[in-house]
Symmetry: C2
Subunit: 425 residues, 2 copies
């Protein structure tokens, strides 16, 4: 367990080599490693083996896989977890993610009764309760409705939960890896509710999964009629088993658990059902002894993904700092970055598509002088909400509060180039 929380000696060595190699170079040239290029130029003139013989044909590959050289890019669980069937969480390697789409094979997992293997032709979705005409749909029937395709993140309410408890796991994959993003295709729940006809007094809904946990969560009618989607496809193909195949609910921007997977039933009612996962768990205990319930929204959050503990700084001089930001309230409108632990802030550049309740990329230049530095990012969303520090969060919530840690992350860059997860302020 300790080895995952402490410094990686290998990384220090490799970062030192990079540092020495590049430290004499300035400006953008430092980025491109001319010196390494020169060293390798003789080798480069040799025609590599793969250019000399016919490569693989298409037959080997009807459903493709990543390169053999990318085997390190996988979901992982925490070092003290055992490789047994009961292990129910895996973290996405967001330190290796590019762009805002998470490949389906790397989407983080969280389940409460394991991943069921559902035969899609036997699966049904029932919509009932305070409705005029209850409805039972097969997957194929659902797919015949008008559809929408939208890019949204899903984040576990517990993403960063151990950081809030001062675990200081020294890997971005573990501090922030319970978030992923996809293009979801499905039918707006509003369309289905229009079909069944909801009663005037109906105010809440229950979504229930077909997994062994029968996981069920209540959610309000406003969300159902706003942007809720009954989803069957993810990034162009049918949902993956661990993401709810064949059907899941997507409540954009809301805590992962409310995006009920293996969806088999939606009940319409007057008030919440007070299920296990919205009373005993997934509530937020305040210092007063009372608990907040139905804290659905994943508020604005951001993190620097390069550098990070897995990607040390390799040389002095110009760096391009890269990161991800998101908000369950809407669009990301601004990200600021600090290199001195929050004393001074500079506005980063938003890069690429900016969807509602979606991962958003940012970049900013940094000239590293080789001294210790404290890197932070802070997002502002379209509601004006500003990502808080952990100190601010804890002062409001007390130390019993568990979920929804959206606080500012600090990476300490050591003179060696190594990057460490630290808590400041």
């Amino acid at each position: 367990m300790r080895k995952y929380m402490s410094k990686s000696k290998k990384k220090i060595e490799s970062s030192r080599r990079g540092f020495i190699r590049n430290s004499v170079l300035g400006g953008l040239a430092a980025l491109v490693g001319r010196s390494e290029a020169a060293e390798n130029s003789v080798n480069a003139l040799k025609v590599p083996s793969w250019s000399k013989e016919l490569g693989a044909g298409v037959i080997s590959n009807p459903y493709g896989k990543p390169s053999l050289f990318e085997k390190h890019v996988v979901r992982r669980f925490l070092p003290w977890m055992l490789p047994i069937r009961e292990t129910s969480v895996s973290f996405s390697p967001i330190q290796e993610q590019h762009g805002i789409i998470t490949p389906n094979g790397l989407f983080f997992e969280r389940h409460h009764g394991g991943v069921p293997q559902i035969e899609p032709r036997e699966h049904k979705l029932v919509i009932h309760g305070m409705v005029d005409k209850p409805l039972m749909l097969t997957v194929k029937e659902l797919m015949r409705f008008p559809c929408v395709s939208r890019v949204h993140f899903i984040e576990c309410a517990g993403n960063g939960i151990l950081e809030q408890r001062s675990a200081q796991l020294n890997r971005l994959q573990f501090t922030h890896g319970m978030i992923s993003s996809a293009e979801w295709t499905g039918v707006r729940l509003k369309v289905l509710l229009n079909e069944v006809g909801i009663h005037k007094d109906a105010k809440w809904l229950l979504a229930e999964g077909a997994d062994a946990a029968g996981l069920a969560r209540s959610f309000p009618m406003d969300k159902a009629l706003d942007d809720a989607i009954v989803v069957f496809a993810q990034n162009g193909e049918m949902l993956r088993p661990e993401q709810g195949y064949p059907l899941r609910l997507v409540l954009p921007g809301w805590e992962g658990i409310s995006n009920v997977k293996w969806l088999r039933r939606i009940e319409v009612g007057e008030r919440p059902w007070e299920m296990r996962e919205e009373t005993a768990t997934y509530t937020d205990l305040l210092p007063s002894g009372k608990a907040r319930q139905f804290t659905f929204i994943q508020e604005a959050k951001s993190v620097i993904t390069s550098p990070c503990p897995e990607h040390p700084v390799l040389y002095k001089g110009r760096q391009v700092i890269k990161g991800l930001a998101w908000s369950g309230e809407g669009k990301v409108v601004r990200v600021d970055v600090s290199f001195d632990g929050g004393k001074n802030w500079q506005q980063a550049k938003i890069v690429g598509p900016q969807f509602d309740k979606s991962l958003t990329r940012f970049e900013i230049d940094w000239h590293w002088n080789g001294k210790q530095a404290l890197l932070q990012s802070r997002v502002v969303d379209e509601t004006g909400y500003v990502q808080p520090s952990l100190k601010q969060l804890l002062s409001l919530r007390g130390t019993s509060y568990m979920y929804h840690n959206n606080s500012i992350q600090t990476w300490m860059v050591h003179p060696s180039g190594e990057v460490e997860n630290v808590q400041v302020g």
Copy 2:
């Protein structure tokens, strides 16, 4: 070979059953199969086996795979092609694609010397020729530059080539499956050219791959300085081997072959290099005996994906017709659909994100009366270009013209509900 071109008896049977079941229902209710729901209601009350026992844990799945029940969703090659190493094309199952992202495992393939297995640490990209400072970059070095992430389609110039020759393959996967779409992450070529400093008279570039074919294509400086990207990642992860791992050129909207994979060299020069794949092949022979060369742009095209030969019409009454449209010139602004072989047209609804040079979804309602119908779609892009009929294309180009078949597709819906690929007009 014939079996793939003729009608599938199984499909007719299943469509007839659906037809009988649903034909008495009208309106949206016909979509949702109340009758089937009622039939199955007793079974549905039984708790399925997968709800009764703990499902799979995360350990079985560090890099996930689709459900076992989705094994039919794979890339395929043509029925007369052999499962040998020399087979160099596979078609994406676009009849099963949802949304505008193609999963990396299903992205169509075309290669000219097989798929090389490149060791990324040994791979180099050289930029040289009419430049002030030639540059050699490793993959890691390239990744340190400022990046962009953009969603673009890539379509083979030969997509639909056999249709132009009247093959009338009776599967959407084969008529249109040489197109796929992804979020590409990389460095704008403009940024790299700025780094090397291009000479004033430089007007063309050459991109060369590290595959056994050493595939190389010339392209003009305007495109290089506009939206060309040297890409390392696709849909959030490093490029797949068959898509150019570890580096490829993306020339948004231009014929697939010019998006050179396994990119190892970019040369800057004054005029095209007249390589094999831009002279002997990938040129367009006109009736005059002259050939068009460097016809890069994949002009606006669309196709109805549901129904299609793989997805027959299952019942009379309201259908939601779904399809894909795209243009190598920019955004899709309008799609019209005809149900009578082009006599009358109705405007379809654009659904979901509308990116530049990207797949775009459309939908339109159709009330089928159970009689023979001829379904067509026709796209208009932001330049005002209108997708032509095959007759219009052939009248301009003659019958020797091979590539760039962007003509209107016709699906004949038979009274049985079966859908057949036909050529009309």
